[in-house]
């Protein structure tokens, strides 16, 4: 029980991390599997990207399994095999994202030009050369549709969240359940509902506000659930402090709880907007697709980005398809921007000023 004399400074080590030898081994298996896949593709009728991937995957898993079986026995080999499987699962899951982003950029940027953001499609067809016309009407339309959807859904969504976290009455469980059920309503059903409830009996024609109502239905659950998560994070002593100071519950919620959750509630709002900005099916039923700017939500056909993309896609000529991809690019940039803002706000500490 003697202590070893300390000659020099002791350095922290992580002997459990993969050593140089381990990494070389893994690398060799990888390279070996890649060679096998290249060979097989070259020598057999199996061809194509898929062939490379599948043969590589099988070869890697097999070689890795045999290697670990000989080195450390069956449990280790099975463990390593499973690690290979889940790694491939994540690669397969992420590949479409990369493919989608790349596709949208490659096909969409050709259709980008400055007049896209200054002119509309009032006097142009989708089949016209790409340099003519633009989608400012669609941006205006989508902006209006989303703003009105927000005006309707955000108060309802936040009130629902406040009910679920602050009042906690006897309807709490059923409402929580219904909000979740509502998040599964297919967008086409929301469109049909507004069609049946407003367009058929009342307006008998398309207009913007109908679209906003349908989008609001799709937005409420997102806003309500995200807000609820945020309000749950507000520490209880903050509420009690509000009430203990002699405030009514109303004041406690309005002056203490909601301001403390402000950035989180904004996040909820933005996530809701990102959820519906590209929603297409109800728009197609309810708002029409004017090529001109329309600032009146309550009358007249209202263009929108999803509708622009849809019409361009349906027109089918190369020019129109390029327009569709340019429209998608604009829409995607908006969605990613909203998503990033929501992420940024959401990552900040709740209650922080």
């Amino acid at each position: 029980m003697s202590t070893i004399p300390q000659a020099s400074k002791i350095v922290p080590q992580r002997p459990w991390k993969a050593s140089r030898k381990d990494r070389v081994e893994t690398g060799s298996i990888f390279v070996f599997a890649a060679l096998v896949s290249i060979l097989v593709v070259a020598l057999t009728p199996l061809k194509g990207k898929l062939a490379y991937f599948v043969i590589f995957a099988i070869a890697y898993l097999a070689i890795d399994f045999v290697f670990h079986l000989r080195k450390a026995g069956r449990p280790a080999a099975v463990d390593s095999f499973f690690r290979g499987l889940v790694t491939m699962a994540i690669l397969v899951a992420v590949t479409p994202i990369l493919s989608i982003l790349a596709t949208v950029w490659i096909r969409g940027h050709k259709g980008l030009h400055l007049s896209l953001f200054t002119s509309d499609m009032r006097s142009n067809a989708f089949t016209d050369p790409v340099s003519q016309g633009g989608l400012i009407h669609a941006i205006v339309g989508t902006g209006l549709l989303v703003i009105f959807a927000m005006i309707i859904s955000v108060p309802i969504g936040i009130l629902t969240a406040v009910y679920l976290t602050e009042i906690r009455g006897r309807f709490t469980r059923p409402i929580e359940f219904l909000v979740q059920a509502m998040s599964g309503v297919p967008s086409i059903v929301a469109g049909l509902f507004i069609y049946a409830a407003i367009l058929v009996p009342l307006t008998k024609t398309v207009n913007g506000i109908q679209g906003s109502l349908a989008l609001a239905i799709l937005m409420i659950p997102t806003v309500a659930r995200t807000s609820q998560e945020v309000l749950k994070l507000i520490p209880n002593d903050l509420r009690e402090a509000g009430v203990a100071l002699g405030g009514t519950q109303w004041r406690s919620v309005a002056i203490v709880v909601v301001p403390a959750a402000r950035s989180g509630l904004i996040t909820a709002m933005i996530l809701g907007v990102a959820r519906v900005a590209g929603e297409t099916a109800p728009i197609l039923l309810l708002t029409g697709g004017s090529g001109a700017k329309n600032f009146n939500m309550f009358s007249g056909s209202m263009g929108s980005l999803p509708n622009y993309i849809w019409q361009a896609f349906a027109s089918g000529t190369p020019e129109a398809i390029t327009r569709a991809w340019a429209g998608i690019l604009v829409l995607l940039v908006i969605v990613i921007a909203l998503f990033s803002i929501a992420r940024f706000l959401g990552n900040r500490k709740v209650g922080a000023k």
Partner: protein
């Protein structure tokens, strides 16, 4: 010990009820918030009501045939009046199509999603995990029209090749037979697009559930000499099983209600088609969108009825899913 001698215990004093009559402002506040909270109930109720009102005629005339037959004919006589006797509406083909697409989406999407969730929870180094989680969450925000166009222009060409391979090697399975050599815009390809669309939701729910696996059980498994896989099998899978089933059902609900992406990718043909590689299929949602453009008010009622069926179907699937997910969350501890 005087208390021991008391034979009869004195009656307990009656409980005082602690009541504070809320102030007026609070009562207004509670009323407003409760009204807001009940809005989801109201909206769901209204959806049900209006679709029922509008679809009632169709249900009344077609009866059960609406669900069991695959005949969709809106006959309009020369005078422009609707010929109700000869019009037939049945959505069986589209219901089966919905089921086929959803099953393909689940069969392809779920193993990938669960595998990805396991990788993210138990294998990924923190930096990679953060990037991957952000990417997958972002994917959940992609609009469905984007998935549709990507499926049509990009996935299609690869998937046709895969479809031919499947037919070549697994053609003896009835599902993979081809009556004619047309493999473009098939249910198989639409199902793949749906599979990709449900990856974000199934992955994130599975990940949340795996992350709740009790640490003490994980440590117990490792301390008994288990490898990571052995730990997953003994601890994480039994713990997460039912929650993942819930997540899968949420994905199923998504896949069943998808409209635009299916409409874009799939060649919608009004017939029952079990041969998933063949270029014909459809689902209820996309059929509604397809027929809506040229439908007469009479036919629109039938579409409303179809919408009601879809609504109830997704409501049931989603409710079951949420029930299962929330149960698992509770038993988590």
């Amino acid at each position: 010990m005087s208390s021991a001698q008391v034979t009869e215990r004195p009656a307990l004093p009656a409980k005082r009820e602690i009541t504070t009559r809320p102030r007026f402002s609070d009562r207004v506040f509670r009323a407003v918030v409760t009204t807001g909270g009940l809005s989801s109930l109201v909206i769901l109720g209204l959806i049900l009501l209006f679709l029922l009102i509008n679809g009632y005629d169709t249900f009344h005339q077609q009866g059960l045939h609406f669900l069991t037959s695959s005949n969709w004919q809106a006959v309009v006589s020369d005078s422009g009046k609707v010929d109700t006797a000869n019009s037939h509406f049945g959505i069986a083909a589209m219901l089966i199509g919905t089921l086929i697409l959803a099953v393909i989406a689940i069969a392809v999407g779920v193993p990938i999603s669960v595998g990805a969730a396991i990788f993210l929870t138990f294998y990924a180094p923190p930096s990679i995990k953060k990037i991957m989680v952000t990417a997958i969450d972002l994917m959940a925000a992609f609009p469905s029209v984007l998935f549709g166009l990507w499926g049509f222009f990009v996935l299609e060409s690869s998937a046709e090749y895969w479809a031919k391979l499947l037919n070549k090697f697994l053609g003896w399975i009835p599902f993979f037979k081809l009556p004619e050599p047309y493999v473009s815009r098939s249910p198989f390809i639409a199902g793949l697009v749906l599979a990709i669309m449900i990856i974000p939701i199934v992955t994130s729910i599975s990940r949340e559930i795996f992350a709740q696996t009790p640490l003490d059980r994980i440590q117990a498994a490792y301390a008994l000499g288990g490898t990571r896989f052995a730990m997953l099998r003994a601890v994480a899978f039994p713990f997460a099983r039912s929650g993942i089933v819930g997540g899968v059902m949420l994905g199923l609900g998504r896949a069943m209600g998808e409209t635009v992406a299916v409409y874009t990718v799939l060649n919608i043909v009004y017939q029952v088609n079990w041969q998933i590689l063949f270029s014909a299929g459809g689902n209820v949602a996309s059929m509604i969108l397809l027929k809506f453009g040229e439908a007469s008010p009479y036919e629109i009622k039938a579409l409303m009825a179809a919408g009601l069926v879809l609504f109830i179907l997704t409501l049931i699937v989603n409710s079951l899913a949420n029930l299962i997910v929330s149960r698992t969350g509770k038993s988590g501890r």
